[in-house]
């Protein structure tokens, strides 16, 4: 305990000295730091903050030091997060490499691959994208068809991916490919390659929110060095599934009103008072007031369940059955929250751009549209319910 307290003091001192003041203010979305070869830094302090954090490995606090990570224990990492929250520090780096690929590489990659890729992820030098879904393989992900042939000294990749987040901005891709067309799950491999390779093309897709965070990605005779295969040939599905767990954990946090929920517009009850009005301190519509209470109560119950799951894990009871519901419940809750914000704000939450609407209002409109994807990406709600039915409840296949 004493050592942990000392770590807290040292961390606090270091953060005080090294976190630039502008990095302790709320972050506009365009200042999010994704790193990569073509990174831009609208606020130069962002780059400074990233480099300082990366120099200590604190962009990936629990990864081993030999791969550039912070080498912290879970307890130390928790202290670091607490101290970062205490000064309201912005995330130094947002990265699929850190959230999804890194943990999978640590578990499944060989030494050479870890040494090659992990330090660059920690420093934000290489930005990664995820090549999973295909036009014909969405919920049935294991039905993917992107062909990967062994050409002796290299692999040859042909096919198409879709919903590749930021493929047009990413430097490398971690990609599921078919290496045995005669099998389903046992014919999939996990491949890494450079998006600059000849034959790779990424085309952004315009979404209902107006943004284009996803791409269609085409591979035409892309040559990939054989050393870029992670794990064994045809054993990629195990890695793919583990990585999906990390992705789902990342997405399920959204129901708590954290990242992007409401876009700084204020609490539901304040929004209701501002946009609908109040009588004697009560929201003027009993129906809206009741809807707000239902939403707040369910959010609180969900937050308590996440905490309980974390405590159970800490007490060595393993990830309880409760964790299997997080992706489903968190995303449905987040969608409901945006529908409620629309009801509370009326036509002020239905603007698209330009005069008549402030930034917060436009952000609600766009985020409402974006939230619809939460229960589709990373495994649809229906797939999550299948998982609970079969794995947790032990119900048989039809």
């Amino acid at each position: 305990m004493e050592a942990l307290e000392q770590f807290r003091q040292e961390t606090r001192t270091w953060l005080e000295e090294n976190c630039p003041p502008s990095m302790r203010t709320p972050m506009p979305e365009e200042e999010t730091v994704w790193g990569g070869r073509n990174a831009t830094y609208p606020n130069p302090d962002s780059k400074l903050w990233l480099d300082r954090m990366a120099s200590r490995g604190w962009t990936a606090p629990t990864w081993p030091k030999e791969y550039g990570g912070g080498g912290l224990s879970k307890e130390e990492s928790r202290v670091l997060q607490q101290e970062l929250r205490r000064i309201k520090a912005r995330p130094a780096l947002s990265s699929f490499g850190i959230w999804m690929l890194g943990p999978a590489l640590l578990e499944f990659a060989n030494e050479e691959q870890k040494k090659e890729h992990l330090p660059k992820i920690v420093r934000g030098e290489i930005r990664w994208c995820q090549g999973y879904s295909e036009p014909g393989a969405g919920s049935d992900l294991a039905g993917l068809q992107t062909k990967c042939e062994d050409k002796g000294d290299h692999y040859l990749v042909n096919g198409q991916k879709i919903w590749t987040s930021y493929a047009d901005k990413a430097d490398w891709i971690f990609c599921l490919v078919r290496t045995d067309p005669t099998k389903k799950h046992e014919g999939i491999s996990f491949l890494l390659f450079d998006m600059m390779s000849p034959g790779v093309e990424a085309r952004p897709i315009t979404m209902i929110s107006g943004a284009s965070p996803f791409c269609e990605t085409f591979f035409t005779d892309v040559k990939v060095p054989k050393k870029n295969l992670v794990g064994e040939l045809n054993k990629g599905w195990t890695i793919a599934k583990r990585l999906l767990q990390h992705e789902r954990e990342m997405i399920s946090g959204m129901g708590l009103g954290g990242v992007g929920a409401g876009g700084g517009i204020g609490s539901l009850e304040q929004v209701a008072k501002d946009y609908f009005g109040e009588t004697d301190g009560k929201i003027a519509s009993p129906s809206l007031r009741d809807h707000i209470t239902r939403q707040k109560m369910d959010s609180k119950a969900f937050a308590l369940t996440m905490m309980r799951s974390a405590e159970e894990a800490k007490a060595g009871q393993g990830p309880g059955a409760a964790s299997s519901i997080f992706k489903y419940y968190g995303t449905e809750l987040n969608k409901r929250r945006y529908e409620l914000l629309l009801e509370l704000m009326g036509t002020q939450a239905l603007g698209w751009e330009g005069d008549g609407f402030n930034d917060g209002e436009i952000n609600v409109t766009r985020s409402w549209l974006r939230s619809k994807g939460n229960s589709i990406e990373g495994g649809t709600s229906e797939i999550q319910l299948n998982v609970v039915s079969k794995r947790v409840l032990g119900l048989p296949d039809d």
């Binding site: 159970e312 409760a322 039915s389 409840l393 119900l395 048989p396 296949d397």
Partner: protein, 379 residues
């Protein structure tokens, strides 16, 4: 927050599980119902519960209790909920005992709490006056006459009212019928002249009564707590009852879920078990999620009581609202998934549904508690 159980608590839970499964299974409630039992619960079993320390679980060792605290009590109630065990836990431990603990003077505590812990003393709270929970709208009057009081009014839905050895009567000593202040609690012997008790048979086969007070004279020493200041105590007592009842409902909901899941794996139609159909699988998965959230709020509410957190009223309303809604949903779904068999008296699922509705209506349904939550949160 203590969302994970200690070893001692796990032990208590195991003891309670075994006791209710073996001593008070659902068959016990059926027998009480079918024989129109005059008491409405098994007195011997209650004595055994007292011996196991369940009756004195909230009572300090000084008065012969076990002082396991709210989390311990919640574990016992959850197991009682699983088998629909009829017992005076709610009336005597959650309501009567808490009221005396919080508001009683030294003599009242000494006399009453040790008798409760020993399983020798049954209590009932005479509060409600209409079909909806409304702890502030009190028209029953208590008028001072010298050093005594005369109580007049009608009470309904008094849990265990027909067997109680002592009533806690909520009466108005000043103000008009909707004032928050002006309420006083009285300890009343049900055998006093002018007290007329009518047992009411409820759908859940558990005990309740209507009670008339016609100019009932009680001495000044019958006042529990302060004159006109009963509301604060009542609020605290009711929150304890709401949280305890939520724990009982958690057991009821979990049991209905477990029994339904087992039925889905056994019942066959179209040549396969019906649990293989996605239309049923997804509904069960959603219920599973809702019940996990129920467990979290009940555990948090119990630890809020234990830690005497300021937010006990909010979390009590959250727990009672969620458990009332989800117990309605779960028992409706459970019955539907049992098909025609669920409609028969032979199957237990109907009994769980009946108990769920009475528990949901006790001390505020989800509408009451959402309204209260919003008011507490200031919107």
């Amino acid at each position: 927050m203590a969302l994970v159980l200690t070893e001692e608590q796990q032990l208590l839970r195991d003891t309670a599980t075994q006791f209710f499964q073996e001593r008070l299974p659902v068959a016990n409630l059926r027998k009480l119902r079918d024989t129109r039992d005059a008491v409405g619960f098994d007195r011997d079993a209650w004595k055994e519960m007292a011996d196991l320390g369940f009756a004195g679980i909230m009572i300090s060792e000084k008065y012969g209790g076990t002082d396991f605290g709210p989390v311990g009590l919640g574990l016992v109630l959850e197991q009682a909920g699983r088998t629909l065990a009829a017992s005076p836990l709610v009336s005597t431990v959650l309501l009567g005992g808490s009221a005396v603990q919080l508001a009683g003077n030294a003599t009242q505590r000494q006399d009453i709490l040790s008798a409760i812990a020993a399983g020798d003393h049954l209590m009932a709270l005479a509060l409600e006056e209409g079909p909806h929970h409304n702890p502030t709208k009190i028209t029953t009057k208590a008028v001072a006459a010298g050093s005594s009081y005369r109580i007049t009014g009608s009470k309904t839905f008094v849990l265990d009212g027909h067997v109680a050895d002592q009533l806690v009567v909520v009466a108005r000593t000043s103000g008009d019928s909707t004032d928050r202040s002006g309420i006083t609690l009285f300890l009343v012997d049900p055998k006093t002249d002018g007290v007329k008790i009518t047992r009411t048979l409820m759908v859940d086969s558990r005990n309740a009564a209507n009670i008339e007070f016609d100019n009932v004279t009680v001495p000044g020493s019958a006042v529990l707590g302060s004159i006109d200041g009963g509301n604060d105590v009542l609020d605290q007592v009711l929150d304890i009852a709401r949280i305890g009842l939520s724990a009982e409902m958690l057991g009821l909901v979990q049991q209905t879920f477990d029994v339904t899941l087992a039925y889905l794996k056994e019942r066959k139609q179209f040549g396969k078990v019906i649990g293989s159909f996605q239309a049923l699988q997804h509904r069960m998965a959603v219920l599973f999620a809702e019940i996990e959230l129920c467990r979290s709020v009940v555990l948090d509410a119990l630890s809020a009581l234990e830690e005497r957190r300021n937010e006990v009223p909010q979390i009590a309303s959250l727990a009672k609202a969620r458990l009332s809604d989800i117990s309605t949903l779960m028992t409706n779904e459970g019955l539907q998934m049992h098909g025609g068999m669920g409609m028969t008296d032979q199957f237990d699922v109907g009994l769980y549904m009946k108990r769920a509705r009475v528990a949901a209506a006790s001390f505020g349904d989800s509408n009451f508690h959402r309204e209260r939550y919003a008011a507490l949160e200031g919107y």
